[in-house]
């Protein structure tokens, strides 16, 4: 290691302590991103330390990759450079929680599971359920804008993040938003940080809106003969007075994994409210199902985690996230099936669609790089005319090197994104190369 390198390492030690800095081979290898091995793994114990680490990296023109639980490191392009893996799991404290405010301020490294345990005695929860949520960090969920079926009722991080403390590329600790549930003072900075993959700032502290846990919640599965019938049923539900928590279309393979039966399509619904409203909602749902000639059956709560597991890719597989429209549920579903059939008849595909929004998660197995690339491109063509997108949310490095994992971004908007990135991080300290258009 060069003298300069060694002294930067010592400076990191001076900031984060001997235990907070690792430069041994196993630690570095474990923090590799897409095969790129960092020179240091730094685990700060406070936001001030994060700020100092980034400031140092900025002056030394080092590339920093912030990370939480490490569950979403396959999102985005392979990094252009990587010097410092910035492990934020040491920042896992609850900063401020007053249950009467139904909001909470936490450090970004806290996991959803740890947070849920803290909230449960007050019958409150954070209404976000992305895959693997319980072990994922809030900072990671915000940086990747991850969500799950509950978004139908509660929205996404965009609707829940009130305030954010972050470290800019030059190490300046910055605050945006507010700690109260309603504020329009200044630009809505938290919005900009969501889904930005840490490229505009390392997320350090989040103030989040919470929700009361419903008194009761139950789930049902409605079996339908086709995606077209499922779409028609979903439209009936959305047009009714029902207020589901989740309304998810499940494709054939997911069904086979969690609830084998005679049909290839199904819609899973959950309703949360006071007990009498849940019972009443279930009756109405059954009536709607009956009118469509569909079979409805109650399913246990575990159904949702089982479905989630079926959608989780194994090593080497790919996960695509398609953003389409609710009114094109069946069209999109057919396009997925056809794209797979055309490219690789023996590939396996699991799909789950947040039906009222038209966003689809697609797990692909038994494909190779060329096949996944072909499927991705074909689906991108399919959603292009409505302004939709297909993002490779997980997949091998080689795949994301061969095909842009984000897909095209409209030129005018991209010019603004680049201007922001150039102004806020001209040295490309934060996650260089990983965001849209290689930003």
């Amino acid at each position: 290691m060069s003298v300069a390198g060694r002294s930067v390492g010592e400076a990191f030690v001076a900031i984060a302590g001997r235990d907070g800095v690792r430069d041994d081979v196993p630690a570095r290898a474990a923090a590799a991103v897409d095969g790129l091995v960092p020179r240091w793994v730094v685990r700060p114990a406070s936001l001030e330390q994060v700020s100092q680490v980034v400031a140092l990296a900025h002056e030394a023109a080092l590339a920093v990759a912030p990370r939480g639980s490490g569950s979403a490191l396959e999102l985005g392009c392979p990094p252009a450079r990587l010097d410092v893996a910035l492990d934020l799991c040491g920042l896992d404290r609850v900063v401020e929680y007053n249950p009467a405010d139904v909001s909470i301020t936490v450090e970004a490294g806290i996991t959803v599971g740890a947070l849920a345990a803290r909230l449960a005695p007050h019958r409150q929860f954070l209404a976000l359920d992305p895959p693997g949520a319980s072990t994922r960090t809030l900072g990671g969920i915000a940086a990747t804008n991850a969500s799950g079926p509950l978004r139908v009722r509660y929205g996404t991080m965009r609707d829940l993040l009130l305030g954010v403390r972050f470290v800019q590329a030059d190490g300046v600790l910055t605050w945006g938003g507010s700690k109260v549930v309603k504020s329009v003072s200044g630009y809505d900075v938290p919005k900009l940080m969501i889904g930005a993959l840490g490229t505009l700032g390392v997320l350090g502290e989040l103030t989040l809106r919470l929700h009361p846990l419903p008194d009761a919640e139950r789930s049902w599965l409605v079996r339908l003969p086709s995606a077209e019938a499922a779409q028609a049923f979903v439209e009936r539900v959305v047009d009714s007075s029902l207020q589901p928590n989740r309304l998810e279309y499940l494709g054939e393979q997911v069904l086979e994994a969690v609830f084998p039966g005679p049909t290839s399509s199904a819609v899973a619904v959950s309703i949360g409210s006071v007990e009498e409203a849940v019972v009443e909602g279930g009756e109405r749902l059954a009536a709607l199902a009956k009118a469509e000639g569909a079979q409805i059956l109650p399913v246990p709560d575990a159904f949702w985690s089982d479905a989630e597991r079926a959608l989780t890719p194994s090593e080497g597989e790919a996960l695509l996230q398609i953003a389409s429209l609710a009114g094109r549920l069946a069209t999109t579903q057919r396009a997925i099936v056809e794209a797979v059939r055309a490219s690789a008849p023996r590939a396996r595909v699991w799909t789950s669609c947040c039906a009222p929004l038209g966003t689809v998660r697609v797990r692909l197995a038994d494909t190779d790089l060329a096949v996944t690339t072909a499927i991705t491109k074909r689906l991108r063509d399919e959603v292009a005319e409505i302004g939709g997108s297909v993002v490779i949310a997980r997949g091998p490095s080689a795949l994301r090197a061969a095909v842009d994992p984000w897909g095209p971004v409209e030129a005018g908007a991209f010019a603004l994104m680049r201007a922001l990135r150039d102004d806020l991080d001209p040295k490309r300290v934060l996650n260089p190369g990983r965001f849209v258009g290689g930003l």
Binding site: A14, S51, G176, S183, G186
Partner: protein, 481 residues
């Protein structure tokens, strides 16, 4: 500096003589929004009907570094849609079409000048509505709502404007028409739609908006509870929230406001009430029935004098009547007032109410209160007589102190009205230099020459464009490079 004759001629070429307001009397109409404290007429008002006209106007102004101020209906409360530095005002009232209603995908695309309520009216028969409902919704424009990220009495449950905006067409300060977001959610890239909503015209001119439409709730229940002490009402609010309910609205009126309303209308609030709480629950019928019973019971338990439940729309309108007339009713107490819009964490409501009384006493001004109790958004009306300059000064002093008190409790300087000219100077109460610097840089990406609504939203700063220069964090001495 007056506008050049060539610029005026070019503007006329773009929008036609009928699309230009040049006369002194004509421009006077545009000199202020509803915060009439702040006055500044533009040098000319252009009334475009198409996006390409807006693009042409912005490019023209940019070439000559002439300030541009966008304006919708002018119902803002912040000194936003007015021209303190003169320049060109772009009135968007003629861009008022509904471009598309897409019910299968539950969204609509509209031009910015469309009146908020007209959108709900257009989809109500199909069972849908546009959720943001600022009190001005029968006159305010959706472009204005987007610009200020407007709230409303029902945002406790439904969120504010930004939660309902899917996409924008924005003509930036460089005169580029860009599409941000759209019908499809989850676009890759930075959420520029999210940052542009609430930017108060400082990023550019919004020329189209794609919004979410919601299915109308099956049932609505409105409850009015009155209390002998505001503490009891505040405790009822906390208990309702703690019981796991999120009412659509949770509004409170204090004693002075109740008196003013009772004197002038037949809202019929109990005479000895020191606080009135309006609770509105909506959603599936079974949920609304169960929760409204629980809410009423909570009010009784907290010592309510009276609890009334509206049985139909007419009764519901009657219960809301007093609340809706609140701002007008204070006219009976004083010739004029300062309206505040600060927020405190909901749990601090009882504390801030006591503090407000103390502030009023210290500055010898009366303060009437009507507020969104559910989200801690206060709207104190500080009463004064504008014929007495000394009283105005006291009202202003009380206003500043009140804002400081809210910030000290972890609150914010504006909950739903926006910043504008009025509160730009107050932002440093809430944000450090680094935070404001970050905002200046965001602005610069959209409007490099600061021609879009200059002087609004952000406090003024040195002309170099760098804004506040935050100190870098200290790194360990001597160790490296």
């Amino acid at each position: 500096m007056p506008l050049s004759r060539t610029l005026l001629a070019d503007l006329e070429r773009i929008v036609g003589a009928g699309g230009l307001v040049r006369s002194y009397e004509g421009r006077l109409v545009y000199e202020s929004d509803m915060h009439t404290f702040y006055k500044g007429a533009p040098d000319v008002v252009a009334l475009p009907t198409r996006t390409d006209q807006v693009v042409a106007i912005v490019r023209l102004c940019r070439a000559e570094r002439v300030p541009i101020v966008p304006r919708g209906s002018g119902t803002g409360l912040i000194g936003g849609a007015m021209a303190p530095q003169g320049g060109v005002m772009i009135g968007l009232n003629r861009m008022d079409k509904i471009l598309e209603i897409d019910l299968p995908n539950r969204c609509a695309t509209v031009q910015p000048g469309l009146i908020n309520l007209f959108l709900t009216q257009a989809v109500a028969n199909s069972g849908y509505f546009f959720a943001p409902d600022p009190s001005s919704q029968m006159v305010s424009s959706i472009g204005g709502n987007v610009s200020t990220n407007a709230g409303g009495p029902h945002c406790l449950k439904y969120g504010i404007t930004t939660n309902h905006v899917l996409g924008l067409e924005l003509v930036t300060g460089t005169g580029e028409a860009v599409r941000l977001g759209g019908k499809v959610v989850d676009r890759p890239g930075y959420d520029l739609t999210g940052i542009a909503v609430g930017s108060e015209g400082t990023f550019g001119i919004v020329t189209a908006v794609t919004v979410r439409l919601l299915h109308a709730p099956e049932a609505v229940r409105t409850i009015l509870a009155s209390f002998v002490a505001i503490e009891d009402a505040s405790e009822a609010v906390s208990a309702i929230i703690a019981a796991g309910m999120i009412p659509a609205a949770l509004e409170m009126l204090d004693e002075m406001m109740i008196r003013a309303i009772n004197e002038g209308s037949n809202a019929g609030y109990p005479k000895d009430a020191a606080a009135v709480l309006l609770i509105e629950l909506d959603g599936p019928l079974a949920e609304v029935m169960a929760q409204s019973e629980r809410a009423a019971q909570i009010c009784w338990e907290r010592g309510a004098l009276e609890v009334r439940v509206a049985r139909d729309d007419a009764e519901r309108a009657l219960l809301w009547k007093g609340r809706k007339e609140a701002a007008g009713a204070v006219g009976r107490l004083a010739p004029t007032y300062l309206l505040q819009d600060a927020v405190v964490p909901r749990s601090k409501l009882p504390t801030i109410m006591r503090e407000l009384i103390a502030i009023g006493a210290r500055h010898r001004v009366r303060i009437a209160n009507v507020f969104h109790a559910g989200d801690g958004n206060l709207h104190p009306l500080i009463l004064y007589d504008d014929r007495d300059p000394e009283e105005l000064e006291r009202a202003k002093a009380a206003n500043e102190e009140l804002l400081n008190a809210c910030i000290a409790m972890g609150g914010t300087v504006t909950g739903e009205h926006g910043v504008g000219l009025d509160k730009a100077k107050n932002l440093p109460l809430q944000y450090a230099d680094a935070d404001l610097n970050f905002m200046y840089r965001l602005r610069r990406a959209f409007d490099p020459e600061t021609i879009m609504n200059p002087g609004k939203l952000l406090p003024s700063h040195p002309a170099c464009g760098e804004g506040f220069r935050p100190a870098r964090p200290r790194v360990p001495d001597g160790a490296w490079i």
